[in-house]
Amino acid sequence: MDALDGNAIAGLLHNVFSSEMTTATGTCATCGSASVVGELMVYLQAPGTVVRCPVCGNIMMVFVRRKGMTCVDLTGLAHMAA
């Protein structure tokens, strides 16, 4: 299945971080590559939203919408600079 790019989660990221994030740079905790959020690989067609590193394919972020809350896992993200 084809991934979308990070622009597909612009609204979701804005809700979570209260800021425009698609031009931020995220660094993958697995391979260390820095990528603009808009270039990340996004899988929306799943029980949650899974965001992967475009270089190594490992998971950088997971978002699960649950009972009005968005649960966020950023353990695959070394850091993010807006």
Binding site: M1, Y43, A46, P47, G48, G57, I59, V64, C71
Partner: protein, 201 residues
């Protein structure tokens, strides 16, 4: 001529008597939506194998060995936690009774490991007794990669995230551990009839 509108009922999609077959909060779809948390692996048959490990005598089958095992045609209704259900899906697969053997697995758990890193956990009791298969065929055709081919788990009595696509390895455990979506707050067991979508449901 009646002056009263018949009202908005929506289009009925009665698939051979849906009543009593659609769990709460689900709708019936004729499509087969593709859900995935990552890229679709395309593992060639000559590089594919299936293993059972952990608290069981370890065993690995090549594709040819796996396909020579007795298989069954299974007709089942499937229920995705994203609220679609699909009725009367027809699969071909090898029963987990064949792959795990007849030993008593009471109190044990199975962790399914897949190409791409996906995992999901199930009680061993739920995959034995003719309740679960490793499916390699769908609708009379080889299972397409986007639906989990070469082979996926089929556990139709639980939400379909438990029916892990691209399954390659079953790890038998004497304790339970959460799999991928279970770690993120999805229900540990996932019974669609009790609407066990999230932990605490």
């Amino acid at each position: 001529m009646s002056s009263v509108s018949r009202g908005f009922r929506g289009r009925r999609r009665d698939v051979g008597g849906e009543e009593g077959r659609v769990p709460p909060g689900q709708y019936v779809t004729q499509d087969f939506p593709v859900l995935s948390a990552g890229p679709t692996p395309h593992t060639p048959h000559d590089q594919w194998s299936f293993s059972v490990e952990g608290a069981i005598t370890p065993r690995t089958w090549t594709w040819e060995e796996f396909r020579s095992l007795p298989s069954e045609t299974v007709t089942a209704d499937i229920h995705c936690v994203t609220r679609w259900s699909k009725l009367d899906t027809v699969w071909e697969g090898v029963s987990l009774d064949t792959l795990l053997g007849q030993a008593d697995r009471g109190g044990m758990f199975v962790m399914a490991h897949c190409d791409g890193g996906y995992t999901t956990n199930l009680p061993a009791q739920d995959v034995l007794g003719g309740q679960a298969w490793v499916a390699f065929g769908y609708g009379g055709q080889p299972l397409p990669p986007e639906h989990g081919g070469p082979a996926r788990l089929l556990v139709p009595h639980l939400y379909f995230w438990k029916s892990a696509k691209w399954v390659r390895r079953l790890l038998l455990l004497d304790h339970d551990m959460p799999g991928f979506w279970e770690t993120y707050g999805y229900h540990n067991y996932g019974d669609p009839w009790r609407e066990q979508r999230y932990s605490g449901d």
